[in-house]
Symmetry: C2
DNA sequence: CCGCCAACTGTAGGATCCTACAGTTACCCT
DNA sequence: AGGGTAACTGTAGGATCCTACAGTTGGCGG
């Protein structure tokens, strides 16, 4: 792939304005990289127990149905990898794990039946706590597909980032309901010290205000974040990147 | 850059075993991409107020000193960008922001004096809450440098990910002190429901155990994480990725 | 068999948080 | 001048958390 072509694809990703357009540009870049099927999945931590998922599938519909029926999301090694890692996963490395894991073996055998033999998965994590993955797959044997996977590595990683950025724009309403901007500076400050384990009184001493005022700001924070108490506010704020390292 | 050369560099990054080796491989890839200086910086959220930084600098020593003396980390637009974004930052886009911001203008003018005129910064964020950036810079004018920047985009993004992975390995002792594995399944479960805003009693009902037992597990959690109370435990756990979306 | 450890449970007092009450002050923009 | 909003403060009762006390049970490996 030439740098120019790469820039064109990035451009196209940036201009996609709805799900269909995103699907289209994904299909294009999948073909361009020499693969046949793709799937993009994003996870937004609106809740830790039940996160919302945004899936744009270029996999066979039958496979998606089978996948859901079998609850394969809990088995799928690409999902597990991308949830924890930042490096691309070449599916050739999954073979070894499958030995002695009948569940995983079954999954991979089923996947092969639907044309998902070789491929590569790209994870992406944001500072706001949401994450996504893009998988590019082909029915080729692992050996034959390696040159294509190696070549796709740099581009796939970059495309995934741009893709996720576009999804965040298009699905803005389904993403987390508030941003850092919705909390006032004082509210952020109070919340920051709470995440550091300070009590209301300690925080009031640090900020040179009354204990009551700290409580007041934290109350507002809890309400703005749409949560029920401090610990949930802390969880939400950290997951969303509202509270982040201070560079002074 | 050929796919083969790209793979070789990735290989080299993976084999680096200490700071000097990482510095060396960074210098190599910087040259390979057509740039002159680099800097890698990682931030580990051991504390939200005072995160630990790991910096591997291929910038001029004098610039680093000036940068620290002027407390430029709070001004540096590449740091601000990489803290929040997932896409590469082409420095050419910073020009517009500098107008009407004397502090930023001063910073960029100073940077130019040290051979940092054009360049690109690559952010990376992990599921464990730490993040890093790699900047590649050149003394060339923006216009002249564009082809090099465009070409470096995909590779830089990928190298940054591998680089950060290596740093996490080499600096393992300076990274976060505990991993998910250090909390027992029950402890993770209790913590999960706390992050969802459940009270001790509610959690006990969900898990079908006594209120006292939930308190017990959470006590252990607080102790293992080395924090002082529940909110800090929640913050730490979320920042570290111990608590993450459940796929069921 | 014994030690280790995860999981579990009870009581009780003091610390802290949550909620609902009811305001004041200062700044910015229209 | 009036509206909006951030920041600020007080009281008080009930809910919840924290801590220190003192244990039991079951599984696993040496």
């Amino acid at each position: 792939m030439t740098p120019t072509r790469c820039q064109e694809i990035i451009e196209a990703i940036g201009q996609a304005g709805d799900v269909e357009a995103i699907h289209g540009v994904c299909a294009d870049l999948t073909r361009e990289c020499g693969f046949e099927q793709f799937i993009y999945a994003a996870s937004v931590p609106t809740s830790f127990v039940k996160p919302s998922l945004i899936i744009i599938s270029g996999y066979a519909r039958e496979w998606r149905e089978h996948y859901n029926n079998q609850h394969y999301m809990g088995v799928d090694p690409t999902v597990a990898w991308c949830a924890h890692n930042i490096l691309p996963l070449n599916w050739v490395h999954l073979e070894a794990d499958a030995h002695g894991n009948p569940q995983l073996n079954q999954f991979m055998s089923d996947a092969r039946d639907f044309g998902l033999s070789s491929g590569v998965s790209f994870p992406i994590h944001t500072a706001q706590g949401d994450s996504a993955m893009l998988s590019l797959a082909s029915p080729e044997q692992h050996g034959k597909a390696q040159p294509r996977i190696v070549e796709a590595m740099p581009y796939g990683q970059l495309f995934t980032a741009y893709l996720h950025e576009t999804v965040r724009r298009v699905f803005a309403d389904q993403m987390l309901p508030v941003s850092r901007a919705d909390l006032t500076p004082r509210e952020q400050e109070c919340l920051l010290w709470v995440t550091e384990g300070k009590t209301t009184w300690e925080t009031s001493q640090i900020l040179n205000i009354s204990e009551r005022t700290v409580t007041f700001h934290l109350q507002n924070t809890v309400e703005k974040l749409g949560v029920v108490n401090r610990q949930q506010a802390v969880a939400r704020a950290v997951a969303m990147g509202i509270i982040r390292p201070q560079y002074n």
